[in-house]
Amino acid sequence: MTQIETFYDVMRRQGITRRSFMKYCSLTAAALGLGPSFVPKIAHAMETKPRTPVIWVHGLECTCCSESFIRSAHPLAKDVVLSMISLDYDDTLMAAAGHQAEAALEDTIQKYKGNYILAVEGNPPLDEDGMFCIVGGKPFVEQLRHAAKDAKAIISWGACASYGCVQAAKPNPTRATPVHKVITDKPIIKVPGCPPIAEVMTGVITYMLTFDRLPELDRQGRPAMFYGQRIHDKCYRRPHFDAGQFVEHWDDENARKGYCLYKMGCKGPTTYNACSTVRWNEGTSFPIQSGHGCIGCSEDGFWDQGSFYNRVTDLTQFGVEANADKVGLAAAGVVGGGIALHAAVSALKSAQRKTQDTRSKEEV
C-alpha cells in the first residue's frame, strides 16, 4: 500500500502558503463552531493524517449536490477540497470513464477496505430490480450495496439520498428509496438539501477528517451543528414575523420593504437548515434574502407538501385541491347545516306535539 499524501503535503504541492493554510484551518474551525484552541489541532491533523479516501457514487439525482459542492468557498476553493479528500471515484468529476472508472472504484474498495467514506448522491430505485438506474451496466442499487459493504461511514448527500426528494414524491413510480432504508448496518450522516449548502458539505467532510469521527448528529441523523435550528429561528426577517408585518402579494410595498414571507408560503418555520446563517455563494444571499420564501428543500417529503406558496399542506386524500382549511371548513359547514336543520325539525316537532297536547286536553 502506497503512502497517501497528507492534506498539508497536497496543499503545499499546489502552491498554497503556510499562511493561507493556517487561515484555512481557522476558517474551518469557525465554520464548525469550534474555539480558537482547535485551530492548531486542525492544522496538526491536516499535517500528519493521510487523506481519507472517498468514493462518491451517483444514483437517481440531478448532480446539484456536486454542483454545490464544487462551489464551496470555506474551506478554501474547489481544487484544494478535491485534493483534500482523495476523491478516488466520482464518475462526474473524475477524468477516467467507462471500464477505467469502474476499475478505480474496485481498486479503492479493495485497497482501503473498511477505511473509506462512501458519499452517496441520489438514491437507488428498487422497483424492477433497480433497472431504472444503471451504472456501469448494473443497477445502481448493486453498486451501492457493494461499495457500502466495506465503507467506514456513509454520507447521504442531499434530499435524494437522505429522504428521496422529487423521484420519491408521490406516487414514486420507480420506488426510489433513501439510502438509510437500503443500507442499514453502517453509520449514515444525512446532509439534506436540494442541494445542501456547499460549506455544509465541506464542513462535514472536514470535521470527519479532522477528528476522525462523525459529527454530532440529531435524531434524524443530520449534523446537529448545521441542522440544529430552523431557517425561521435565525432569519433576519424574523422581527417582521413577530411584528405581524407580512408580504401580502409578490412585489407589493411590503415585499420591497423586506417583510416576512410567511403568507407567501415560506417554509422557514418548518425547515431545519443553515441557510439563514451560512447562506450561499460565499455567504452572498439565500432564498429569503432574495425575496422568495423557503421551499423547505431539506425536509423529508418536501415535494408532497403542496404548493411552495401555501403554508397549509394539500391533503390529496380528499381530492386534488383540498387542504386542511378546505376540509375543515367543509366539515364545519356540513355540521353547522346539519345542526340548523336538526334544530328546525326539533322546533317543528315540539310545536306539533304542543298543539296535539292542547288538543287532547281540550277533548278531555
Partner: protein, 256 residues
C-alpha cells in the same frame, strides 16, 4: 332511573323541605320533592369553563397563526409585536389547557364517578349499547320521549371520549411538539416531544395534523353547544345550568 349513572348523587344540601312564597298550591308539591342530584363537583365545573375559554382562545389565535391577519403598521418592527402576542396567547392558553387537563385527570381519580365518565367507554355493558340505540332514535325524531340520565347520555359520552379525552391529548401532544421546535434542540421539551416530530418526518405534516385537530374540536364545540341547549329545552333534565351549579334537576317524576 336508567343505568348510565346509578344513583350516588348527594342530596341537595340536606335542607328541610320548605315551600317558596311564589309557589301556588300545585307548585308546592313540586318544590317539596327533592328532584335534583349533585353531579358535577366544583373542580369539574371549573375545568369545563376554563377549558372552554382556553379552547376559544386557542381556536381564534390558532386560526390567525395559520392565516395571519393583514399586516399592521403600528411602528417599526422593533416596537411592534402583534403576531408575537397572538402566538403568546396561543401558547399561554395551550399551557393553561394542559394544566387543566392534568387536573381533570387527577379529579377523575379522586372525584365522584361522574368525573370518570369522560375517560372510558363501557363497551362491555349491554344496556349501554341499547341506550345508544335509544339516543340515536331520539335524535332522529323516531323516539318521542327521551330517557333520563344523571351523567352523560351514551352519545355524549362517546363524543366526550373521542373529542376531549383523545382529541385534547392529541392536540396537547402535537401542540407541544410544535412548541418544542421553537424552544430548540437540547431543551427538555424537545427531548420529550422531538422524537414524535422526527417520527412524523416533516414538521409541516405535524402542523397540518394540529390544524385538522382544531377543526375536529371546532365541530365538537358546535355539536356540544347545540346538543346541550337542545337537551336543556327538550329533554327531561337540566343541562346548561348543571354545568354552572353542578345540580341535575329533573322535570318529571317518572322513573325512566
Amino acid at each position: 332511573m336508567t343505568g348510565a349513572a346509578g344513583s350516588s348523587g348527594q342530596p341537595a344540601g340536606g335542607r328541610p323541605p320548605l315551600g317558596t312564597a311564589d309557589a301556588g298550591h300545585t307548585g308546592q308539591h313540586h318544590v317539596t320533592r327533592q328532584t335534583s342530584i349533585y353531579v358535577y363537583e366544583w373542580p369539574v365545573r371549573l375545568w369545563h369553563w376554563i377549558n372552554a375559554a382556553a379552547i376559544l382562545v386557542l381556536i381564534v389565535t390558532g386560526w390567525f397563526i395559520g392565516s395571519p391577519p393583514p399586516s399592521m403598521q403600528i411602528g417599526e418592527a422593533t416596537h411592534q409585536f402583534v403576531f408575537g402576542y397572538i402566538r403568546f396567547a396561543h401558547f399561554a392558553a395551550g399551557m393553561i389547557m394542559t394544566v387543566g387537563f392534568f387536573g381533570r385527570i387527577y379529579w377523575a381519580f379522586v372525584g365522584n364517578h361522574h368525573a370518570r365518565q369522560m375517560f372510558y367507554l363501557p363497551l362491555a355493558r349491554k344496556s349501554w349499547w341499547q341506550e345508544i340505540w335509544h339516543e340515536m332514535k331520539w335524535y332522529a325524531f323516531i323516539e318521542k320521549t327521551p330517557k333520563k340520565y344523571i351523567g352523560h347520555n351514551p352519545l355524549a359520552q362517546i363524543a366526550m371520549f373521542f373529542f376531549m379525552t383523545v382529541g385534547l391529548t392529541f392536540m396537547i401532544v402535537t401542540g407541544f411538539a410544535l412548541y418544542a421546535e421553537g424552544v430548540g434542540q437540547g431543551s427538555w421539551l424537545d427531548a420529550i416531544f422531538g422524537p414524535l416530530r422526527d417520527w412524523i418526518g416533516n414538521s409541516q405534516v405535524l402542523h397540518s395534523l394540529h390544524h385538522l385537530g382544531m377543526y375536529a374540536i371546532l365541530v365538537f364545540m358546535m355539536i356540544h353547544i347545540y346538543a346541550a341547549i337542545r337537551e336543556d329545552i327538550m329533554s327531561r333534565q337540566s343541562m346548561v345550568s348543571t354545568m354552572i351549579s353542578g345540580h341535575r334537576t329533573f322535570k318529571d317524576d317518572a322513573p325512566e
